[in-house]
Amino acid sequence: MEQIERDLRQFVIENFLYGDTGKHFANDDSFLEKGLIDSMSIVTLVAHIQQRYAVHLTNEELTPENLDSVCRLAGFVQGKIGKAK
């Protein structure tokens, strides 16, 4: 779980903050409220999760409860991986 959190945090920094490590955000901060990523970025994020963790996301799963912070994302991915096993 911690490893997934680290990886996802790194992905967000690299792709949505253009590697800017100076912008502080906590792992439970809402991406949207903090303005960390915009609507269009979610598409990129979902594509990354599906490819990196070999899981499939249904349209119904694309909700802020599952995706809107590093913690939520990691928990969701962990759950998906668990189910896939």
Binding site: E14, G19, G35, S39, M40, N59
Partner: protein, 520 residues
């Protein structure tokens, strides 16, 4: 008719009706009107006078709507800034229009405090999202939005009216070829005329529930609130498109009747099986901002057969220019339609003479919705507004090349300039190039639009490096993100050893763009 009367009239006719929905917050017309009155009185008490410019830097939220109407009630001119604007951009606009007051969220204030130091005209700052602990400052007077609208310090009665409808109501900043955004000056009358025209062909009425996912800094998004309030409908502000599934659920839950789109949103929604969602309440969908691909229009109609689809075209300089009546979609799929009610359009050649059907020329617009010019830019104004058929009047030269058929239907051909349309918004390559040029190590820069299925066009920076310098694409994007709104940050960066030049030695954007378009 003055624009704040849209709210005032509806507050009298439908005081207890839900006017605005933002997340879990629901406000009636009476509540919004009272809160706007309190804020208007507070602005006046803090020195805002008739004709002053007041900037609003808030996300799509009730505070933004209340602020817009409060500013108008105070007799001032509002300008809504993109919430993702950075210090440089904010300083430019606030200084360009000499804004005397600013309404801003507490979060944003922290990011742009430096810019406020360099805005000498600014006298007061209204901060939303804090109830106390406002920053102290020698010159600026900070006050709490929340305390103002909920407290009893300022009265809930409307201040005395000072304006007339030929006064300016808004400055809407839009990208121009010269780089920095320019303020489109619109009177109450301009905005009233545009609203009435749109309402008439969309047949809006009090039963309408408009789902607005567009930003209020954008003319198309702003007018959803204005027209919705004008007819006494309900407007739902949704900040994010990140979760289209929730949006579809919202349409069902709130029984949304009107859904304005830009093609980017249509492309995102069409990734869903719309048949699985109850969207039967939708009376119409509109598409503007960029050309909606014919295939997307066909899919929307197939999946939403009960919703009428209006293809529209416009410019901030006059809000709306044309609409395609839905019954014409099959016979004229590539047209952006006919002139809106109470407007005349014609196509002219280089010398300004009208051309015949099918001949390419510049589109010219005549009507009461045409702007008064660009704030503080007489030369650019003179280029856009030129003498019209009636002595003394000025008509708008759009800079867009069109043809018109014998029945008056318009067909877009091209822009006369290099403006990029991305996500339905105009972006000036020059503005981004100016930001890129400040990066040490870049020798030459050119910004172009490349075709993109979702965005319409994506922004691409093509650069060359100075000898001995090494810089990554990510570093270039990061620099842009620090200085530009999010939607202006280049999606792609390409490094080259040289850039093509024109005969005069200038960088040839067209030459760069065309091979890219050909490849795409």
């Amino acid at each position: 008719m003055q624009i704040e009367q849209f709210l005032e009239r509806s507050a009298v006719r439908f005081p207890d009706k839900t006017a605005l929905v933002c997340g879990t917050e629901r406000l009636t017309y009476a509540e919004i009107s009272q809160m706007a009155n309190r804020l208007a009185n507070a602005l006046i008490a803090r020195g805002v006078r008739r004709g002053d410019r007041v900037a609003v830097c808030l996300d799509s939220c009730s505070e933004a709507v209340i602020s817009i109407f409060a500013i108008l009630k105070a007799g001032a001119i509002f300008t809504v800034l993109d919430h993702t604007i950075k210090s440089d951009g904010l300083r430019h606009i606030v200084n360009d229009c000499s804004a005397t007051s600013l309404v801003i969220s507490a979060d944003k204030l922290r990011d742009v405090e430096v810019a406020l130091e360099q805005a000498p005209c600014l006298g007061s700052v209204c901060v939303a999202g804090v109830s106390a602990d406002l920053p102290e400052h020698q010159r600026l007077r900070f006050f709490s939005f929340d305390q103002t609208i909920k407290g009893s310090e300022f009265g809930a009665d409307a201040p005395r009216k000072q304006c007339m409808d030929s006064d300016l109501a808004a400055l809407i900043y839009t990208s121009g070829t010269t780089g920095r955004p320019k303020g489109v000056m619109l009177t109450h009358l301009n905005m009233f005329a545009a609203s009435e025209s749109v309402i008439s062909y969309l047949e809006n009425d009090p039963s309408d529930v408009i789902l607005n996912v567009l930003r209020l800094s954008y003319s198309y998004g702003l007018y959803q609130v204005l027209t919705g309030f004008s007819v006494g409908g309900t407007v739902i502000l949704e900040r994010s498109l990140a979760y289209p599934y929730l949006l579809l659920d919202l349409i069902k839950r709130e029984r949304v009747t009107a859904f304005p789109l830009v093609p980017t949103i249509a492309a995102m929604l069409l990734q869903f099986d719309l048949n699985r969602h109850d969207l039967s309440s939708l009376r119409y969908i509109t598409s503007a901002g960029a050309a909606l691909p014919v295939s997307h229009a066909q899919l929307l109609r197939k999946w939403l057969p009960r919703a009428r689809l209006f293809i529209m075209y416009g410019q901030t300089e006059c809000k709306r220019i044309s609409y395609l009546p839905p019954e014409q979609l099959d016979s004229r799929p590539n047209s952006v339609g006919i002139a809106i009610p109470n407007e005349e359009v014609f196509i002219v050649d280089e010398a300004g003479h009208p051309v015949g059907p099918g001949v390419v020329g510049e589109l010219v617009v005549r009507g009461p919705h045409v702007m008064q010019g660009y704030w503080g830019l007489p030369e650019e104004t003179a280029r856009a507004l030129r003498p019209g058929p009636v002595r003394g009047e000025r008509v708008l030269y759009t800079g867009d090349l069109f043809t018109m058929d014998e029945e008056g239907y318009l067909y877009f051909v091209a822009r006369k300039d290099d403006i990029i349309k991305t996500r339905g918004e105009k972006v000036s390559p020059r503005e981004i190039e100016d930001v890129l040029s400040a990066i040490e190590g870049l020798l030459e820069v050119a910004v172009v639009g490349v075709p993109d299925d979702v965005f319409g066009h994506s922004i691409k920076a093509v650069v060359t490096l100075r000898d001995g310098f090494s810089i990554s694409a990510q570093e270039i994007q990061r620099h842009c993100a620090m200085h530009l709104e999010d939607f202006k940050v280049p999606r792609y960066v390409e490094f080259r050893t040289s850039l093509p030049k024109t005969d005069r030695g200038k960088i040839d954007r067209r030459e760069i763009r065309h091979p890219l378009e050909a490849r795409a």
